[in-house]
Amino acid sequence: MIKATINKVEIEVPEGTTILDAARKANFAIPTLCRHPDLTPGGSCGVCVVEVEGFPALRRACMTQLEKGWVVSTNTARVRNARREIVDLILSDHDADCLTCIKNGRCELQDVARVVGIKDVTNQGKNHKKAIDRSRVALVRDPNKCILCGRCITVCSDIQTVNALTLDGRGFDTSVSTVLNQGMGNSACVNCGQCTVFCPVGALYENSQTDEVWKALNDPDKHVVVQEAPAIRAQLGEEFGMEPGTIVSGKLHAALRRMRFDAVFDTNFTADLTIIEEGTEVVDAIKTGRSLPIITSCSPGWIKFMETFYPHLRGHISTAKSPQQMFGVLAKTYYPEVKGIPAEKIVSVSVMPCTAKKFEAQRPEMWSSGFQDVDYVLTTRELARMMREAGLDLKDMPDEPADDPLGEYTGAATIFGATGGVMEAALRSAYFLVTGRELENVNILPVRGMTGVKEAEVPVDGLTLKVAVAHGLGNARKLLDKISSQLAETGKSEYHFVEIMACPGGCVGGGGQPWGSTMAQRARRGEALYEEDASLPKRRSHENASVAVLYEKFLKTPNSEKAHHLLHTHYNARSKVDGKVVKED
């Protein structure tokens, strides 16, 4: 512990504490723009400057570790003027059309400008006017809003190891860009959208489809159905001021009905279906001696990452489509058949915690129903915006169930939204598929939680299943490098089954989650999903009665020919340079 003084207050903090953290502990707030609790400090914005006695220049509080006996001032006239000047300079080349900005009211630059007391932008100089990058179907990049804090680049390179974004140029003409400024759509970008979650301003955001969805809802000739991903129920409440980890499944269904969706279903239904298809695939692979491990396929950011950086592992990826896409097919095949509605009248909307789902829905493989299976994908943030526009506050909604026949779900489906959840759900059913008996303790704790790579061994009769779980693509890379070298050296891997999710924390930490989320919030949302799981009467996917009816009436058996045609897919190899599909001979 070391002693020092901040604004005349004596404090004691552990060695290595930054001035920023020490000041916060002493209840002195220091404004920051580039600092984020989950990223390595970069010190690029300079807003957090403070005075330290004995040093002629101001120091950046986020980058400077407090030392014994230092006398620090965080609120002198010199410090306040310096901060105001820095923010003034940022604003002098910032496209400040705040009222029409997607971040209006949720912008960290707005907050900082207010806190440092900007009354007028006094610096008037050259203004950049750069083209908005709309080359990616999932994401939009507006360089005119960018403040060059570098958070997006840090998360893209350090946490996700995708390296799609980079700084281009130097000095006043620096911009956040992609190689040769060719746009995110012509880069290795996997659409994970973590850059949008970390961006403090309105420079990176989802390519919104709210207008298209409003239009469909207003069209009397259309029958608009909606599905919501497992993670939505643990995120959406935060948009309406509820605590992170408040489960809102029932309120969500009620709100969607009040927005005039014709049928309110639940992606959790097809999460259960995914487990039956994928679980059957894994069990068959083990029985028939197919090269292991089988790796999950639910996360479209992960799928594009695999196609780009690990295409040699394509044969190991489960061919089962993601729950979103399974739902999309059924909404335009099974549901119209049951309901007697022409399939061409159906508009299929999904609400996802994810930006990569927008890309997935538009993949050319995803037309198994004869139509584009999922028409529009909304992120959690977009749904919240639509609800506000519709005059709905989630807090005031009653709890309502989803509609039949695509609405029933088990606890196994709910935990899909957290890292390790798909693995746990699959093991609950795989055990039954292999032994014909139920797994007694369905809580498989070693695969839960925020550790980057998790492993577990699960005895299933004579066989011990070795499984691994990774979340965040940097963690996935570590696991995949290990698997790749095992396969290259011995032709075999130690793992039977592997779950990978592109985003840290799994889907509860997806690129479509509420702005400004932290890892702590993601962890809390994950825990909440396990709480919902524990509260449900059925916790194994094979207990879902509506899924059983679906097989009986429509698909016949798991992995049947019809199931294969509708619910399974294939993967491509992609270029690391531009992310485009590489044609193979």
Binding site: N163, L165, T166, L167, D168, V179, L180, Q182, V577
Partner: protein
């Protein structure tokens, strides 16, 4: 785009340089810390750093293309557009500036239809600016390749440039 070529013969010549690039990269395989040195050598070889060269360097050193591109665009020494056969450097040091260096530069830019840092489509000329070449007594001064020209009047510019094919 900057790595598009207009001249087929230059492409053919460039193709012959790739085996040499492979040698440079091979000696630094898996060593990202040598990036700047490797880029220096690559630029000496090609005269500039087209996307394909950056890609080969990235792959060899174990970096992503965007990381290499970030470094290339940060340092003004590196160029992503091809250089001409003849490099014109107009001096804008203090003495040359006050004696009409800016006008000489303007003339070069207008006549060749390119800006500072640019290269003519036929790759005959590239134009750059330098700050003092120690020929202040001859101001305004201009370099074409290694030849120094002093007291460059705007009327003389094209006469000088025409000497270089």
């Amino acid at each position: 785009m900057s790595d598009q070529h207009t001249c087929a013969c230059a492409d053919a010549q460039e193709e012959e340089l790739y085996p040499k690039l492979s040698e440079i990269v091979e000696g630094n395989r898996g060593k990202p810390e040598n990036l700047i040195m490797v880029l220096h050598k690559a630029q000496n070889l090609f005269g500039y750093l087209p996307k394909k060269v950056q890609q080969i360097v990235a792959e060899g050193l174990g970096l992503s293309l965007s990381q290499v591109y970030g470094v290339v665009t940060f340092y003004s020494f590196f160029s992503t557009s091809p250089k001409g056969r003849n490099t014109i450097k107009v001096c804008l040091g203090t003495a040359c500036y006050v004696r009409g260096g800016q006008q000489a530069l303007g003339k070069v830019e207008n006549e060749l239809g390119i800006k500072v840092g640019g290269t003519t489509e036929d790759r005959r000329y590239s134009v750059d600016v330098v700050r003092c070449i120690g020929a202040c007594g001859l101001a305004p001064a201009m370099l074409v390749n290694d030849d120094v020209y002093g007291r460059v009047k705007t009327t003389k510019v094209m006469e000088i440039l025409d000497r270089y094919e």
